[in-house]
Amino acid sequence: MSLWQQSKEVMRVDLMVEQRIGDTFRIVLPFAVVALMIFSLAIPAGVGDIGDVGTAVFWGVAILYGMQVALRTSMSETEQRKNIAMLLGLDPAARFLGRSMAAALLLTGFMAVLFVAMVLLFSPDLPVGWACPIALAILLAAAGLAMLATLAGEVASGLRNRSALASLLIAPLAIPMVVGASQVLESMTGNNGILIWILLLITTDLTLLVAGVGLSRPLEEASR
């Protein structure tokens, strides 16, 4: 079975498991929407138009809660399942790609729903033609966060405090994604070009893709 076929199989099973346990849309998403509501209620009246901070709050909540979505498979993996995957001949690069693709799909849906919730709660003044650029930003940020979380999950694999360690690894490394994604809408509002921010997101994603695929085999061997 080729790397691509193994990756697709890992993604298929990851999504099937998610469909049955419903972590992302039945547990994490409602909490993220509640977090957005709390922010919208907590902003003092004197601040002015809360719509001005809506997108910033959206990206903050999306990245923080998105980490939980992207890390869910790595954090629930037992030593036995990992062993069986190795004995099945699963290419570690395929595992990285498959898990990342599944997490990216879930995160894209998660962020899209969260964005709609933000629009309803904060009523921001969105610039003309915002839909395509924001969809692209969400897609690229979701892919980057998915790969980053999968890689962090592999690095922290087998450690007792892996959940906390993986989150600590992700938070600083997600900064380019937060900056790139949040500046897309900001630049459109100010009539500035968004290309540089889209390129930042693409560069970050490609770097994570190369790092994830390249490190997967050495990380697996290091776990022996």
């Binding site: 193994q6 062993n83 190795m86 004995l87 099945l88």
Partner: protein
């Protein structure tokens, strides 16, 4: 008779603590060996080493021709079958879906799944989710997978524990089939009475050290 595995004075340290010390072992094709020892003696660690999931800290060894100290190719790993003391299946999938997933990942034909399920008596519960299966059913599902996988080296970690007579005979049949295909079997247990195969050697493992007892 060719060697399926060979360990020479192998030691394994985990977390800086020696778990296995000076282990020497060999297994030829068509042979089965038993290793008995109390809980915590290092039996599971030894099986993980033989499954190429661990690297020796001292000594040298080969499994199916692969040097345990180096990078082990996937083609070697897919020739190793292991039953651990806790069944390793995806709980959220059905028995059938687990076997399909295993077949697809390891590039084995899915067409043989019905026959394998029938051989272990699970043909009527194939659509049951694993987390709703009993321990015995999970074990039978693992045996069904190994009937499909046809490993050259079969590692059994307390594989007969907690099973009824019929399921125990399935484990024995799996081991016999493996040997008939010129494969080898290593079975470990804390209870010598739990091992029923025709072993060429029985070793005792205690405090990470092994001695041959028969």
């Amino acid at each position: 008779m060719s060697h399926l595995l060979q360990l020479d004075s192998v030691g394994v340290d985990l977390g800086g603590r020696p778990v296995l010390t000076d282990i020497s072992l060999h297994l030829g094709s068509g042979e089965a060996i038993a290793i008995v020892g109390p809980n915590g003696s290092g039996k599971t660690t030894l099986l993980r080493l033989l499954a190429t999931l661990l690297r020796p800290s001292q000594g040298s060894g080969t499994v199916l021709g692969a040097d345990l100290r180096g990078v082990v190719e996937r083609s070697v790993r897919i020739s190793v079958g292991m039953i651990t003391h806790a069944p390793a299946l995806l709980d959220e999938l059905t028995v059938w879906e687990n076997l399909v997933h295993f077949c697809r990942i390891s590039n084995r034909p899915e067409a043989v799944i019905p026959r394998a399920l029938s051989a272990v008596g699970l043909e009527n519960v194939a659509d049951l989710r694993v987390d709703r299966c009993s321990f015995g059913m999970k074990r039978r599902a693992e045996i069904a997978w190994l009937l499909i996988a046809k490993p050259k080296l079969l590692l059994l970690d307390e594989a007969r524990s907690g099973l009824d007579i019929e399921a125990r005979s399935l484990v024995d049949s799996l081991a016999r089939l493996t040997r008939e295909r010129s494969g080898g079997v290593v079975a470990v247990s804390h209870d010598a009475g739990d091992l029923s195969l025709d072993f060429v050697a029985v070793h005792r493992l205690a405090n990470g050290r092994m001695e041959r007892v028969s």
